[in-house]
């Protein structure tokens, strides 16, 4: 029961008002919400590009847009979704909000650097948006040379600058998280008492810090090549375009782990709470996060299988790519084992968890297909690869993100979302997702190339199915937008611990006070210890 007194309580949202209190905040919770608004905006921009792509692909001859425009559409879809939505999403929203709380800290180690990170994302985004509005960029999000450096007549440099700046946003967030986890844990919060969400974000932060600078210098080189024709990637002067690919993928492969590791961290939390059981094999899951971060840096050459990369290098990278699947598999096994003999609740976050486990597994297994040199020659640059990474990024990461948003929404806002509508949208999203992307595996295997807007008529049925799925998916994504906003005003007031979860963040009121804890907590319990924890709201199911 929420008393009137509790409704008047001061918390981080009402302790100050006005636009300056948001734009100049040092509070990690407010910064998380600033990020939430920003990445949501970029998600819908990226989604708009996807919509146009899917509509274009309804008919074999296209006709809605020209080839040049189509090239811009898939490029800008990729850039927006990857650099301005997926990479910041979970760490900068849920991570920013909850990492300090989970370790018992008042804030991150460097609050003003945290705010700077947000501004850098916004400024980078503005550069990219300017480029898109001024005419777009058509190089593909991978901006391979020599097309991007010599032949493309589009806004490559403006976009590259935007990504460069956004990269520093990512680096600073990573730096902040690493120092915070090392130095700001409350007394008694040992490494192996940390929630697995913290482990995942920590591992992600390592990747951000070690990989992103290489992308930054690669962008600088593309800039110099395009502007000054220095020759570094230009075969006419003795340069090697494949050097670009090495430099680009050295970051961009670990980047996919930046996108999926935090999602895995969310799933670890959700699967535990909604089975009301400690995560099976906690240490295995924690170490697997670290293993993914490390091994993820050793496999980038699998993106170069069909380039002039040497056969030996191909063999080594293929072998290592199989290896990197192991820690991910370990996690899936452990989550599944957590469910066994658990007290399963079917609340919305758990629905997303089930979706994640199934879809991520499919995405991951198809990763093994493309890790095989022989198979990759057949399916590379086809819709098979597109389906593979969308299963992980959309079926995996976005589902986990939504699951986490629903789970932590009461804590962040002090309001419950409407459970029935939420479950319905989870179902709509799941169905829409599978209808969109499963046909794409078949399309790719049958030979439909990626980045083409015209195709042989035998592929049309599958494309129509995919577009139909995309429409359903779009509806599914709009629904949470609507009811989350609705809940801010009309949602039931949330208690401190509606789910009966363990974890320090649930020991604070909803929403939390400005400094999170009135007194620095002293931790004596292991993670995911549900003894004596009572959920204050009996949830449906």
């Amino acid at each position: 029961m929420i008393t009137a007194a509790e409704q008047e309580r001061e918390h981080y949202l009402n302790e100050s008002y006005g636009i300056k209190s948001w734009l100049l905040t040092k509070d990690h919770k407010r910064i998380a919400l600033l990020y939430l608004a920003t990445v949501t905006l970029f998600f819908f921009i990226g989604g708009a590009f996807a919509t146009m792509i899917r509509i274009e692909l309804l008919t074999p001859q296209g006709g809605l847009v020209s080839s040049e425009t189509y090239n811009k559409l898939f490029t800008m879809h990729g850039i927006t979704m990857i650099f301005f939505f997926l990479i910041p999403s979970i760490p900068a929203t849920l991570g920013n909000f909850f990492l300090p709380m989970m370790i018992g800290a008042r804030d991150l180690a460097f609050p003003r650097v945290n705010l700077l990170s947000w501004y850098l994302l916004v400024i980078g985004g503005l550069f990219a948006l300017f480029a898109m509005l001024a005419g777009g960029v058509d190089t593909g999000w991978t901006f391979y040379t020599p097309y991007s450096t010599t032949y493309s007549n589009t806004w490559v440099i403006a976009t590259a600058i935007g990504i460069f700046i956004a990269g520093f946003s990512s680096i600073l967030t990573g730096l902040n998280f690493i120092v915070t986890v090392h130095r700001m844990r409350a007394p008694g919060m040992t490494w192996f008492r940390l929630p697995l969400f913290v482990w995942s974000n920590y591992a992600t932060a390592l990747i951000q810090v070690l990989g992103t600078p290489v992308l930054a210098v690669t962008i600088v080189l593309v800039f110099c090549e395009r502007f000054f024709h220095i020759g570094i990637f230009d075969p006419a002067l003795g340069g090697d375009p494949v050097l670009f690919q090495h430099l680009f993928w050295f970051y961009s492969h670990p980047a996919v782990y930046i996108m999926v590791l935090p999602a895995m961290g969310v799933i670890s939390e959700l699967v535990s709470v909604f089975s009301r059981k400690t995560v099976f094999g906690y240490k295995f899951v924690a170490f697997s996060s670290m293993a993914i971060a490390v091994l993820g840096f050793l496999v980038w050459g699998h993106h170069l299988f069909v380039s002039t990369q040497s056969v030996y290098a191909g063999l080594v990278f293929s072998f290592l790519s199989y290896f990197v699947a192991i820690p991910s598999a370990i996690k899936v096994f452990n989550w599944t084992a957590t469910l066994y003999k658990g007290s399963i609740s079917y609340a919305t976050p758990m629905l997303y968890t089930f979706g994640f486990i199934g879809l991520f597994t499919i995405g991951g297994l198809t990763g093994l297909f493309v890790a095989s040199l022989g198979i990759d020659v057949h399916v590379t640059d086809t819709y098979f690869v597109i389906a593979h990474f969308h299963y992980i990024m959309v079926g995996g990461t976005i589902m986990a993100y939504l699951g986490g948003l629903h789970y932590w929404w009461p804590k962040m806002t002090g309001r419950m979302y409407p459970e029935l509508w939420a479950r319905l949208s989870a179902l709509v999203i799941f169905l829409g997702f599978n209808l969109t992307f499963f046909p794409q595996f078949i399309l790719g295997y049958l030979g439909m190339p990626r980045r083409y807007h015209t195709y042989s008529s035998e592929f049309q049925v599958l494309h129509v199915l995919s577009t139909a799925g995309a429409s359903v998916l779009a509806v599914g994504y709009l629904m949470p937008m609507i009811y989350f906003i609705w809940s801010l005003r009309y949602g039931k007031l949330a208690p401190a611990n509606p789910w009966g979860a363990s974890g320090l963040e649930w020991k604070t009121p909803s929403p939390p006070p400005l400094h999170n804890f009135d007194e620095t907590p002293i931790v004596t319990q292991e993670a995911y210890d549900y003894r004596g924890v009572i959920g204050e709201e009996v949830e449906v199911g």
Binding site: V214, V242, F250, F297, T308, S310, V311
Partner: protein, 102 residues
Amino acid sequence: MSGQNQHVDSATTYFLVFLALISLTVITTAVAYVDLGDFSVVVALAIATCKMLLVALFFMHVRHSTRLMRLVMVGGLLWLGILIFLTLGDFATRGLVGVPGR
């Protein structure tokens, strides 16, 4: 006080390290004019590495710092190593198998 502040090295220590750095600079320049064939670059990098270690250990206080800081430094160098050597693994093995274009 944290570990860093407790050890204040003497000015003499710093000066000696400085002299060593200057000497190594002179040596590396002079040795460059000696014909060591392929070994020249190894020597040059070895001397540069010694200079780096002197600067890091003494001027950057790594000598007195925690295990974590040293791990960070080693980790960074290791990652640089991964970038360079795994990429060279491609460039150095091209053409070995006889497959055209690879």
